[in-house]
């Protein structure tokens, strides 16, 4: 395919995709820690920061990704 016909994806789309994947992994880590609590607990682990912070990253990444999926 010639590069003249291909337009570069928007940087916001790229950032959104990466945050979606990384946020998803953090959220997955949070779920795993909930199901099988680690031996060594971090300070304030009871607040489950991996769950809600991972969720925030997924939502933010998702907004960027889906709102810029057609922009270049």
């Amino acid at each position: 395919m010639s590069t003249e016909t291909v337009k570069m994806k928007s940087i916001w789309y790229v950032v959104g995709l990466l945050l979606l994947i990384i946020g998803g992994l953090v959220l997955l880590g949070g779920i795993l820690n909930l199901i099988s609590p680690p031996e060594h607990k971090t300070v304030l682990a009871n607040l489950r920061p991996d769950l809600w912070w991972g969720g925030i990253i997924v939502v933010f990444g998702g907004i960027l990704f889906f709102s810029h999926r057609n922009s270049h």
């Binding site: 590069t3 945050l19 990384i22 992994l25 795993l32 680690p38 304030l44 607040l47 991972g54 925030i56």
Partner: protein
């Protein structure tokens, strides 16, 4: 000492980041067809993209670790680096200097010196900048390997070579374009990866008010203890902060350092270029919510014997740079640790990519094309840019090994900026605002400023002259001496340039149109409402700056 253990999810997060940035390099190569694409990202970025890249080029991991550690050591005064030590200079660049830079269609800051003065001033600055960039890039690489080795137990050589190779791949592929993409990714990773440290710290201690209440006054105010240097953690007066940091070091860095200014050159038009540093100023003012709050939280926890928190010690000395990694280890469970480490890695690698992309531009245009091959074609310059990228990375690795065998080189890092940027700011200021400044005045003034800064550094380092003489205070921290040395270097460059210009011949005024204020027609903005002009956003930024300083007075 290994303080952070990584699990499978953490490794997946790190691997995702590496795969992403290498993939981006390959993807963007398809769109890198000309030397302008490679060196200036095609000059098609919006002010948001250029603005975030402008800020991120400065927001390296070395800065994050160092400033959090400095806050532990010096207290709230470190916020001056982000507020008075950055914002006025960024706004000055956007409002007053960018029209000269952008409209003259130069490809680098030394390129402006060639147009305004002559080739020798350009080459002098080009060489000084190239050496500084490689030194900083190598020290950055060394620091990254040291951090990964200390906190994660990674092999020193392997982590350094892996990250250097990754940067080499994506910068060689598409130059500034991939550097800017990764810088924006880094911006979001740093906020999502590290801001949570401050949030968790404040939750543990109770509130921001409680954090401030539990540290001494010398550490929790911004200006009220600045009249007497013995009353504040940085041992400095307000004069040193305003003249050394707020004026010379800050303006020298933010308005002349090509590493950051290059991002504004990539903007699609003059308005976007002017808005680049102005938009970045708002985000810059927010960075203390990561580094200062985290540093203060570490300070409070370290003073509380029941917290179980302490910084690492190296040979009996406190390792202040360990504050942020120790907080990550304290609060982050599996998954989040990987994100925190990825944020630091992204900061290191984007910082190195920024230095290398600035180096390859200055090398190619201001040294290679200017001195070695004046008739090089555009295609040849694109090839040379890629060769310079590989060469720059290899030289950075050599510098990193040098730093490993000579650790005190880290002390030189802050000093390097006062050698190159502080005098250059005097040259630029006079060049842009005074038409009768001559090429001879600029060249000898710049040489005198740079030379005097190096001599002052060596004189205080080897006790030829007392540091208190440079800082004009019997009590002065290393930081205070840095600020004052920058001020003197600037003043010597300024004075020498003016004196020599008074007795030598200036360039004809017709050759200075578009380069000097008063000889350049003002942009026609009569039909643009004030609320849409860069000056309006700069005014808002300035008001926020004043409010922050008053609130934390």
């Amino acid at each position: 000492m290994v303080t952070i253990n990584l699990g499978v999810i953490d490794w997946l997060v790190i691997a995702t980041y590496f795969a992403f940035v290498i993939g981006l390099g390959f993807y963007l190569k398809r769109f890198t067809k000309s030397e302008e694409d490679f060196f200036l990202a095609g000059r098609k970025n919006s002010s948001w993209v250029a603005g975030l890249a402008f800020l991120s080029a400065n927001l390296g991991a070395l800065e994050l670790l160092g400033m959090t550690g400095n806050t532990f050591k010096y207290g709230m005064y470190v916020a001056h680096f982000y507020w008075i030590g950055a914002i006025p200079a960024m706004l000055f660049l956007g409002v007053y200097m960018m029209p000269f830079y952008y409209s003259s269609r130069i490809k680098s800051v030394p390129g402006y010196l060639k147009l305004r003065f002559d080739e020798r001033t350009r080459v002098l600055n080009g060489i000084a900048f190239a050496v500084m960039t490689l030194l900083v890039s190598g020290i950055n690489l060394y620091a990254m390997a040291l951090v990964l080795h200390t906190f994660l137990g990674w092999h020193w050589d392997a982590s350094m070579w892996a990250s250097a190779a990754t940067v080499a791949v994506y910068v060689t592929m598409s130059g500034l374009m991939s550097a800017i993409f990764t810088e924006i990714i880094q911006f979001f990773l740093i906020w999502f990866g590290l801001f949570l440290v401050s949030i968790m710290g404040v939750i543990e201690i109770g509130s921001v008010k409680e954090v401030f209440a539990r540290i001494p006054e010398a550490y929790n105010t911004l200006w009220s203890t600045s009249a007497d240097p013995s009353q504040n953690g940085m041992l400095i007066t307000w004069g040193g902060i305003v003249l050394g940091l707020g004026f010379v070091l800050s303006f020298g860095y933010w308005t002349t350092d090509f590493l950051v200014v290059q991002r504004a050159f990539s903007a699609k038009d003059l308005r976007s270029a002017r808005m680049t540093p102005i938009l970045a100023s708002f985000f810059k003012m927010a960075v203390p919510f990561i580094v200062i709050i985290a540093g203060l939280v570490a300070l409070v926890l370290a003073k509380d014997p029941n917290s179980g928190f302490a910084l690492l010690q190296d040979g009996g000395q406190i390792n202040y740079d360990s504050a942020l990694p120790m907080l990550i280890a304290r609060y982050y469970p599996q998954g989040l640790v990987g994100l925190g480490v990825t944020a630091l890695l992204a900061g290191f690698m984007a910082g190195q990519a920024g230095n290398i992309s600035a180096f390859n531009t200055v090398w190619t245009y201001d040294i290679y094309k200017s001195v070695i091959n004046k008739n090089a074609s555009d295609t040849h310059l694109l090839w040379m840019g890629r060769v310079a990228t590989i060469g720059g990375i290899l030289l950075s690795i050599v510098t990193a090994y040098w730093a490993k065998s000579f650790p005190s080189i880290m002390d030189y890092m802050q000093a390097i900026f006062s050698w190159v940027n502080a005098p250059l700011f005097a040259t630029m200021l006079l060049g842009m605002f005074v038409w009768w400044i001559t090429p001879a005045g600029a060249f000898w003034g710049l040489l005198a400023g740079m030379g005097s800064s190096v001599v002052m550094f060596l004189a205080s380092k080897f006790n030829w002259v007392s540091s208190s003489a440079i800082a004009m205070s019997p009590q002065a921290s290393d930081m205070a001496v840095n600020f004052w040395r920058a001020w003197w270097a600037w003043a010597i460059c300024f004075g020498t340039t003016v004196l020599i210009s008074l007795s030598t011949k200036p360039k004809p005024q017709e050759e200075l149109r578009g380069l000097v204020i008063g000889l350049t027609p003002e942009a026609d903005t009569a039909n643009v409402p004030f609320t849409k002009r860069p000056e309006f956003f700069a005014l808002i930024s300035l008001i926020v700056l004043v409010l922050l300083n008053v609130y934390f007075w």
